[in-house]
């Protein structure tokens, strides 16, 4: 550069220099703008923006991510959060059985689920939908009422069919996700990474059971109602614009507890267990009762069995 300054630059050189300075100017502006935007956010916002896909994180990265999230949630909702990452156990395949002849349609499971899994209260998100159907018509989804609201249940001539994620063996939602933000864990639970989901809602279009729910706005949960014991793939608080779903209470079942809906059910209509364990309750139900799965013709192969106990 110095030597050039001594001689008189030719027209061509001058033009090239101009182009170079322009390019340098443009590049530095872009870098400065991007840097400025990133520098203006807090480090945790930056980290969550650049967070990689969960399966590409090392164990250490995961731990750091969980700690960061626990801190974030603590700042927002107060209290001390634990964000766990309990992996699936070997030889476990979770399955569910629901006794249609017992269910009275009280919706206690719906609200126990909301409480356990930190679903948004406003706008309300329910992972379980209870359908009221007419006994005369049988299981007929075209004559099902999800919004029944009588003074007392069960109503005469009706029966009730709770529907939640059927934890399919061939989950359509997993296949269609364009960014791989949802997958099936080794123990059969279909999970969503709320930090990777882009909110395109293709999985909602693909789910035959309406089991996936979208955070149409910022989820609101009163601080005193929050559940602090969370799992990264389960009930940790969600963000605006991501999809969520039933995870069989992954934060509980991986520690050997029952899902919240099983525990609350006043009539014992809900059964849960390990499909690979011949002694488990679900195995007994499958082997001894009249069992069916919902929308069998679609070949999603759910691990959620409906049966008639009596």
């Amino acid at each position: 550069m110095k030597e050039q300054a001594l001689t008189i630059p030719t027209e061509k050189e001058r033009r090239r220099n101009r182009a170079l300075t322009r390019r340098r100017f443009l590049r530095s502006t872009v870098v400065a703008a991007a840097g400025g935007v990133l520098a203006s956010c807090s480090p945790s916002v930056r980290e969550s923006f650049f967070q990689q896909h969960l399966k590409e994180l090392t164990e250490e990265d995961k731990k750091r991510t969980y700690a960061r999230l626990a801190e974030e949630y603590g700042n927002r909702y107060g209290g001390k959060f634990t964000v766990g990452g309990e992996p699936a156990k070997e030889g476990v395949l979770f399955a569910y059985a629901l006794d249609l002849s017992r269910c009275v349609g009280c919706r206690r499971c719906v609200y126990a689920c909301v409480k356990e899994n930190n679903q948004s209260r406003d706008p309300a998100i329910h992972w379980i939908t209870v359908l009221q159907m007419e006994k005369e018509k049988g299981v007929d989804l075209s004559h099902a009422d999800a919004y029944y609201n009588p003074k007392a249940v069960p109503e005469d001539g009706h029966f009730y069919m709770p529907v939640q994620c059927q934890q399919c063996r061939r989950p359509q939602c997993v296949e269609v996700c364009p960014v791989g933000a949802t997958w099936q864990e080794p123990d059969g639970i279909v999970v969503v990474d709320y930090n990777w989901c882009i909110g395109c809602r293709y999985c909602m279009a693909a789910c035959p059971y309406g089991a996936r729910h979208f955070n149409w706005s910022r989820p609101e949960i009163p601080n005193e109602q929050i559940n602090h014991d969370t799992h990264y793939l389960g009930n940790r608080p969600r963000y605006k614009g991501v999809v969520e779903k039933c995870t069989f209470c992954i934060q509980r079942v991986r520690k050997g507890k029952y899902p919240a809906c099983v525990e609350i059910c006043p009539v014992g209509a809900r059964k849960f267990g390990n499909l690979l364990d011949p002694e488990s309750e679900v195995r007994y139900v499958i082997e001894n009762k009249r069992v069916f799965i919902l929308k069998e013709e679609i070949n999603t192969q759910p691990k959620f069995y409906y049966f008639y106990g009596v």
């Binding site: 033009r15 923006f49 896909h53 590409e56 706008p123 359509q172 296949e175 269609v176 996700c177 364009p178 960014v179 791989g180 933000a181 990777w196 989901c197 882009i198 909110g199 395109c200 809602r201 293709y202 909602m204 279009a205 693909a206 789910c207 035959p208 309406g210 996936r212 729910h213 979208f214 955070n215 149409w216 706005s217 910022r218 963000y239 605006k240 614009g241 991501v242 999809v243 679609i298 070949n299 999603t300």
Partner: protein, 244 residues
């Protein structure tokens, strides 16, 4: 430098016009402004502002996206006779078709982007940097073909206009292969968009083999239809006064 002059020249042409032209630009600008304000509102409050909910989770955005994919076909219908059979009279119209295709694809991508719950994570769709679920997800296919078709048409049409600007004959060996690639791309944007819907057994009304050919045929109607309307307008507005 020539490129720079081409760019400036295009801007100059773009800015030149009568009162009617400027008021049209102002009208379009106002529409864009309303859209931007609405989008900022949606970014702030979430997609709840669209009044969509879980039972109907795809609405106007995706409907418009699907329609505009059809419009983007306009180019290929005109491109085949213009470049493959080298039929001169249609060549100038073909450029309009390609311009329309580029703008339609841009609108498609913008509609899908506006439909995303987390637009800040759109980079997850970029292969290698993000995690594109290809080939399992048909939306991933759609991302690839739409961007590919848009880029192809953008390159072709910019090159054609550039050669016209510098008053040179365009190089056939450069354009023809691109055109040949763009034809299957044009077909695939419709079929893939149709597969996005009809690959879902959960939606019985979409889950039909007729959807892809239906999208193609309706695209071949709606695309040229818009060009016909456009050309009629151009003829009315730009013809010498005594011929109107």
């Amino acid at each position: 430098m020539l490129y720079w002059r081409f760019f400036l020249g295009s801007v100059r042409i773009w800015l030149k016009g009568g009162k009617g032209y400027y008021s049209w630009l102002a009208f379009l600008g106002a529409c864009i402004l309303i859209g931007v304000l609405g989008y900022i509102e949606q970014l702030h409050g979430g997609l709840i502002r669209t009044h969509m909910r879980d039972p109907v989770s795809w609405g106007f955005y995706i409907g418009n996206f699907t329609f505009l994919v059809g419009v983007a076909a306009a180019a290929v219908v005109l491109v085949i006779p213009a470049y493959i059979y080298n039929w001169k009279p249609i060549k100038e119209i073909a450029i309009i078709g390609e311009l329309l295709a580029v703008s339609a694809v841009v609108m498609c991508l913008l509609f899908v982007a506006a439909d995303l719950g987390r637009p800040d994570r759109a980079w997850h769709l970029i292969p290698i940097i993000g995690h594109l679920n290809f080939p399992s997800s048909l939306l991933a296919w759609d991302v690839l073909v739409l961007n590919g078709y848009g880029a192809l048409n953008f390159v072709i049409v910019t090159y054609m206009i550039y050669t016209a600007f510098v008053r040179k004959e365009y190089s056939k060996s450069f354009v023809t292969p691109l055109i040949l690639i763009s034809i299957p791309f044009a077909v695939s944007i419709h079929t893939v968009t149709a597969f996005v819907y009809n690959g879902l057994p959960a939606r019985p009304f979409w889950n039909s083999a007729i959807l892809a050919p239906r999208f193609l045929t309706s695209a071949f109607c709606s695309g040229p239809a818009i060009i016909l309307v456009l050309l009629q307008l151009l003829k009315k507005l730009h013809a010498p006064r005594d011929q109107r």
